[in-house]
């Protein structure tokens, strides 16, 4: 129910966003930004999220709010603000939600560090698995019994495997 009312609340904007899904209307007044500022502008608008859209950067969206935010970015670049200051300006108003590049802080360390921690764990497990081969003779009696069982199973498999496919 809540969803329904929200949808209708955004109807005009969502409709516009859907309508113009395609291309920013207002072109960049390129002449007013030098090459270095241009590059910064492009990078920034491609990393900032349009709040009213489905999942788009303010560069890709044609929602009026996205146009306003692009305008803001351009104005602030021209006023000599740094990228960090411009991002601050937006997060002060809309929160970290506008940043497609989540800042590295306590609440995102899991996000940024997670894949690499998991990679290290996975590599360690894989290495231990391969190393276990050498440690195998030292296995306990129970393990050895299990091992014999497994090996017996595998011998059975091998018997079923035609030799010419062992290439």
């Amino acid at each position: 129910m809540k969803r329904g009312t929200l949808k209708s609340r955004f109807a005009p904007l969502a409709l516009l966003a859907g309508l113009l899904l395609a291309l920013p209307g207002a072109p960049l007044r390129a002449a007013e930004l030098d090459a270095e500022q241009q590059a910064r502008y492009q990078t920034l608008i491609n990393e900032l999220r349009c709040l009213v859209c489905q999942n788009q950067t303010i560069a890709d969206s044609n929602a009026p709010l996205a146009a306003d935010l692009r305008q803001q970015v351009e104005t602030q670049i021209r006023a000599g603000r740094s990228d960090a200051e411009i991002k601050r300006y937006l997060t002060d108003r809309y929160g970290d939600f506008v940043l497609y590049r989540p800042p590295f802080k306590a609440k995102t360390w899991l996000l940024w560090g997670g894949p690499f921690v998991v990679l290290l764990i996975a590599l360690a497990v894989a290495l231990r698995f391969v190393r276990a081969r050498r440690a195998a003779p030292a296995a306990t009696a129970v393990d050895a019994a299990a091992l014999r069982q497994v090996l017996a199973d595998e011998a059975g498999d091998d018997a079923r495997r035609p030799p010419e496919n062992r290439s």
């Binding site: 969803r3 859907g18 309508l19 899904l21 395609a22 291309l23 920013p24 209307g25 207002a26 072109p27 390129a30 492009q42 491609n46 990393e47 999220r49 859209c53 489905q54 999942n55 788009q56 560069a59 890709d60 929160g95 970290d96 939600f97 940043l99 497609y100 590049r101 989540p102 609440k107 995102t108 899991l110 996000l111 940024w112 997670g114 894949p115 690499f116 998991v118 990679l119 996975a122 590599l123 894989a126 290495l127 698995f129 391969v130 276990a132 081969r133 195998a136 091992l147 497994v150 090996l151 199973d153 595998e154 498999d157 091998d158 079923r160 495997r161 035609p162 496919n165 062992r166 290439s167």
Partner: protein
């Protein structure tokens, strides 16, 4: 009447699917061959019933039956016939119907091709597929019935989303679903192995072609999706790391890992428990993707119209199916565990590393996709995770893969001597270094470290792939004979790896050297981009079958020589009033020149200045060629005679054993 028949056929299909689960299961339990045999005919009947339902819905679209709510919502009297047929899968309900059609199609295929499988394995596999079918049929019938009538009957339809009125999108979803759904076969085989407790080389060989086939469809689907987004969305991007894209990419990564671990399981009888886990995971991620796309828990550009009731249903279904699968795994997998009988520096060892990187990459995509959800659940506030994150994390996780691809081919099974391997790879390695250094310079780009690294990896992968074939040819005295004797499986692998190399080259260059520019041009004015001149020749009105277009003309020239006349369009679809940008692209192997038409600066004057977006994208095509070549490799590998012959032989052996 026809829609009701379709609805009825779906209900009948549900009943048949229930039989497909219950009777074979009973048969396996009681060792009753006749009950087991029901599985095949049930699978085929279910497929025919769903096909009939699907055709009924198509008929409703073709005949413009607006009394069917789904048809009225997704078609229009002016919609061309081809799009009326493809509109069947243009929204949630119909695309779910396509999904179950494919699911039952895969099951029917299993029942036909695997007639010689041991009967209990065949019966269990089909029963599992039947159970998955039951879930999805219930989902359609209870929450997403495409045959629902609406009263009063509207005078005309609301039209198909214009984004979907594009040839790329006509074939993209079926391909993608074939891939998603295809992993259900590997899943069913994995569960059958867990249930029966038998997992041998023969099992791996039966599973391999099915997995490869699903994978090649998924590869095609993702590639087509990327190509469509590039042409149709008008943003000039080809991959957005949108949740929906990630939903298709995660099963692809895990499916790729599965293909490689299946090779180890088949040839060396190792990594069995791991292979089973990957087979479950690939399908688990397909189900997860379905949930993410259709439940509305995440915000996506491509999301379907969502309904929380559907989300709850899929979540429950997912929890049941995967809960059973993972519990079975926890219970039975330990018996498949063996001690490694290979060194790390061996083909098995490197394939294991390949699996580690692929699965961790899939995990990174999953984490990034779900993190906004996690942060909200933990009350950490709203965060967005977008392309900058994925690019930063994904690259270091996948670059080692490119190194491994070339190395693994040069390393023998079980264990290898580094000195011998080095002798094999030193030439391609040296050539890759030289070519990597030379490429940016030869193509007239700035020298960037990342481009050099990308080029090196790409050339390394390509050369080592070629070397694999070369070695086999040179090993034979008669070279022609040698070439002809290269098995299809090896050709397939080589092509898939070459595709990867081409893809890496394309991705590196297009990401690093693309140039984009938003310009304002009046008729006759020109803008310059990367040495190409784009002259805007104005806009004229044109009427399409169901839209009116502003048809622009842009002449592209280089050093005074005219290269192309590009005709970007801005279409306004009459029924919905939606506006779409049709970009225009001039392309060759080395670069794309892309023009998209924006808005007139003065809305009232179409003959005045216009906003245009221009792109120069080097090697854009290689990204898609790479994808299609990978898929082609999969096709060739899956068609290897070995699978069919070996299967016949093995079944005979198993039968003989059973009789003895």
């Amino acid at each position: 009447m026809i829609p009701e028949l379709g609805h009825f056929a779906l209900v009948a299909a549900l009943l048949v699917a229930l039989l497909q689960v219950a009777l074979p299961a009973l048969g396996v339990w009681r060792r009753d061959r006749r009950l087991m045999a029901v599985a095949s005919s049930a699978a085929q009947t279910q497929f025919l019933l769903i096909l009939f339902a699907y055709l009924c819905l198509t008929w409703a679209f073709v005949t413009r039956d607006w009394s069917v709510a789904y048809v009225a919502a997704n078609s229009h009297s002016e919609l061309p016939l081809a799009y009326r047929v493809s509109a069947v899968w243009g929204a949630h309900e119909g695309s779910m119907l396509l999904w179950v059609l494919m699911l039952s199609g895969w099951a029917a295929a299993v029942s036909v091709f695997n007639r010689r499988l041991p009967p209990d394995l065949a019966a269990t596999t089909l029963a599992v597929l039947g159970a998955v079918g039951v879930g999805f049929l219930l989902f359609i019938l209870l929450t997403s019935n495409p045959f629902e009538r609406s009263f009063p009957v509207p005078a005309d339809g609301r039209d198909l989303n214009p984004l979907l009125q594009d040839p790329g999108l006509v074939i993209h979803p079926p391909m993608l679903y074939m891939g998603y759904v295809g992993f259900s076969v590997a899943f069913a085989f994995a569960l059958a192995a867990l249930i029966s407790g038998r997992l041998d080389a023969a099992w791996a060989r039966w599973t391999r072609p099915w997995t490869t086939t699903a994978w090649l469809f998924l590869t095609c689907g993702i590639t087509l999706g990327s190509w469509w987004a590039y042409n149709e969305l008008g943003w000039g991007g080809w991959w957005f790391w949108d949740p929906v894209e990630n939903a298709s990419f995660m099963p692809w990564l895990v499916g790729t890992a599965l293909i490689h671990s299946l090779a180890v399981t088949e040839k060396r009888g190792q990594l069995k428990a791991w292979t089973v886990l990957l087979a479950i995971l690939a399908f688990a991620l397909s189900l997860l993707g379905t949930f993410l796309v259709r439940s509305g828990v995440l915000v996506s550009v491509h999301a379907f119209a969502t309904d929380p009731a559907r989300g709850v249903f899929i979540l429950t279904f997912l929890a049941i199916v995967l809960g059973i699968a993972f519990t079975l795994y926890a219970w039975r997998a330990p018996r498949f565990v063996s001690v490694a009988d290979f060194a790390l520096f061996s083909r098995e060892g490197l394939l294991l590393l390949n699996n580690v990187f692929l699965v961790v990459a899939a995990f990174a995509v999953l984490l990034g996709t779900l993190y906004p959800l996690l942060a909200e659940a933990l009350n950490l506030g709203k965060v967005s995770v977008g392309p900058p994150y994925f690019n930063a994390v994904f690259l270091p996780l996948t670059a080692p893969l490119a190194v491994l691809v070339g190395l693994a081919a040069a390393v023998g099974w079980k264990r290898a001597k580094p000195a011998e391997v080095w002798k094999r790879v030193r030439v391609p390695a040296a050539l890759a270094v030289v070519a990597g250094l030379a490429l940016p310079w030869a193509l007239g780009h700035r020298t960037l470290l990342a481009a050099i690294a990308g080029g090196m990896l790409a050339i390394w992968v390509l050369l080592t792939a070629a070397q694999e074939i070369g070695r086999r040819v040179l090993a034979k005295r008669d070279r022609v004979q040698g070439l002809l004797q290269v098995p299809r499986a090896v050709w397939g692998m080589t092509l898939a790896h070459a595709g990867l190399g081409i893809w890496v080259l394309g991705v590196s260059f297009v990401s690093l050297y693309s140039v984009e520019k938003d310009v304002r041009l009046g008729p006759g004015q020109a803008a310059e981009l990367s040495g190409y001149a784009f002259r805007f020749d104005g806009v004229e009105g044109r009427a399409g079958p169901n839209y009116d277009a502003d048809h622009g003309r842009v002449e592209v020239s280089h050093g005074g020589r005219v290269l192309a006349e590009l005709e970007p369009e801005k279409r306004r679809y009459r029924a919905s009033g939606q506006v779409m940008t049709e970009s225009a692209v001039d392309h060759n192997a080395l670069r794309d020149l892309y023009v998209a038409l924006g808005e007139p600066i003065d809305k009232a004057r179409a003959d005045g200045d216009w906003a245009l977006r221009l792109y120069y994208k080097p090697m854009m095509r290689l990204v898609w060629w790479g994808g299609f070549i990978m898929a082609l490799g999969g096709l060739i590998a899956a068609s290897d005679r070995r699978y069919r012959l070996a299967q016949a032989r093995e079944t005979a052996a198993v039968r003989a054993e059973a009789l003895a």
